[in-house]
Symmetry: C2
Subunit: 351 residues, 2 copies
């Protein structure tokens, strides 16, 4: 267990800096004197790009690679700004980090805390984790177009899936499933239409499953999953899926469990070759930025994932428990971003 943490912090845009301030506060309170936290801030984001014309270059990547882990708030500016068209920040920064740092596991736990309201009338017990592939699929950027702007335009997008990429993700999925009480893994794909990729995913799951006889395995098409997520989310334990399907179902999963204000994620390089990156699932929400209206809970739960990743299991569990207690104690009076962070940090110090 490391006793020092050399953390890169990318607060980003909009509400990013506000939620990151609270996340860091909680991180320091959770590890107290056990871990020496050194946080280096990086200015990357839409704002930085608009000021300097730079998104993320090789030198920036080299600097980030020196860190033990990365904590990211949210990146992205006003979606109507023509200078930010075509997801230039999302792809040039967020996806570039995921690919360059080989974050092949995008880990997104979904938990409906007892005190949190769901939009579902009868959500039941919701506690599952989505193990989303992070470096392949239609996210690889291998599309292209010809005759752009003419009536004869053709625009293609290519989903690339490799045995190498699918197997390492599937193995992580089985490790995750076998460490959980329910020990159930659901592969999500669209094997009846995307037959080549689907076959690779299905064969890989079938093969790796033989090594995990204690894990129950099933399969659902992506369309059917959306039905179960609103009618019986309790049926899920560990979902293993590709980059795009994972993107879609984790937003839905967040919605049924209280909203993206509570959804945390880890972009993980399990091999430890590169630093992993932890970020709330929510975006930069420019409309409420700078007003202390953002809920820092997702960022704080991302800190719990970070602590777990660096082996600080006990501190991680204490952060999750503190969040759970704070959610249970929430009244109808809205608190500021800092008030929520302060309350959670204070409860950790007391323990």
């Amino acid at each position: 267990m490391p006793t020092s943490l050399n953390l890169a912090v990318i607060p980003g845009d909009g509400i990013g800096p506000e939620v990151i301030a609270e996340a860091l506060k909680v991180l320091r309170a959770a590890v107290d004197s056990d871990v020496d936290v050194a946080a280096t801030e990086y200015p990357f984001g839409a704002g930085h790009f608009l000021e300097t014309g730079r998104i993320l270059d090789d030198a920036d990547l080299d600097a980030l690679k020196q860190h033990d882990a990365i904590l990211l708030g949210a990146v992205g500016g006003d979606p109507r700004d023509p200078r930010l068209k075509g997801g230039i920040i999302e792809r040039g920064l967020l996806l570039k980090l995921r690919f360059a740092l080989d974050h092949y596991v995008n880990l997104r736990p979904t938990m409906l805390f007892p005190s949190v309201e769901s939009p579902l009338a009868n959500p039941g017990h919701v506690d599952f984790v989505v193990v989303r592939e992070g470096t392949e699929g239609p996210y690889v950027g291998n599309g292209g177009a010809i005759r752009v702007g003419t009536p004869a335009e053709v625009a293609n997008e290519i989903s690339v899936n490799t045995a190498f990429g699918v197997e390492r993700l599937v193995r992580f999925g089985f490790e995750t499933a076998s460490s959980r009480p329910a020990k159930k893994l659901t592969l999500v794909h669209k094997t009846n239409v995307l037959v080549f990729a689907g076959s690779l995913w299905q064969r890989t799951v079938d093969r790796v499953a033989l090594e995990y006889p204690d894990v129950a395995v099933d399969y659902l098409h992506i369309d059917a999953v959306t039905i179960f997520l609103v009618t019986n989310p309790g049926r899920f334990d560990t979902i293993v899926t590709d980059n795009l399907f994972g993107d879609i179902i984790t937003d839905l999963a967040a919605a049924i469990s209280g909203g993206i204000g509570l959804a945390a994620s880890g972009n993980i390089n399990p091999d430890g070759t590169f630093p992993s990156m932890f970020e709330p699932v929510h975006g930069s929400a420019p409309d409420i930025a700078g007003q202390q209206k953002a809920d820092p809970t997702a960022a704080i739960l991302s800190v719990a994932l970070l602590l777990e990743h660096i082996g600080q299991t006990d501190a991680s569990a204490r952060v999750s428990a503190a969040v759970s207690a704070d959610l249970a104690a929430r009244g109808s009076t809205p608190r500021s971003t800092a008030q929520i962070g302060d309350a959670i940090a204070a409860s950790l110090t007391k323990n």
Copy 2:
């Protein structure tokens, strides 16, 4: 308005024949003596394939093309049957029909009938229509794989999007939106990641929008749509989207509005070059087949779409109204498939 209807009927597998029997009953009751309905049955489906080795050949297609419209129940056998692996029936029959008959509009209305329970605690007023592209996207079957079964396997799937295909779909979407009271069109895509296809879709919508100044237009990423579908489905009126995104959100839309037992769809060739095909969104449900347990409502609502398509607007409205009344009158005692069909057909005859 045609006074005769030369209908092809593909009852299919599982519960298909049961729900189709009721749909035909209601169709005949609705048009009474105004339209002379000739129904020709075709045996296509998983059962037919397992018996004869044939799915759908050119002669079959030629025969189907002679009809005014097609009514399909559900196709697909036991998913664990190795002879049906890889979506062979779905692709060889359902998708083959959609592509060969140029069903470029896959029309899926979503309506929460007043008496129907939603899994959402506060669904609000739900009444929108998804205009899903049916002949392009990742459904084109242009994927491929190399070194299959080895650690060096690469499996690609290609999403093909053409100006031709996107524009005709988008135009249909604007026509649909402008005919509806709310007059609002939402493009759903993932333009920040699938930049080539996304740009084509966005540019096409922007351009066609100029011809429909009365239609309000917005855009949502596919992941964000899943959130709104469970938190505020009332925000939607007409959704325009690609083949795969449409597949995913229409299952979710069905789930929030009472389940796929109520969801109808039309695979439409608006040009009239080929017969359009109407089918419930649900599958063949082999587990309850032959037990008169299936709800024929989705098939009956597909008949309403068929009637609308052939210009029998009044009969179509009466079928929808009869379904709505039947849903409102449903008690807790389950009725058989035929009892539901009989009740709806009888209410149409009485009027």
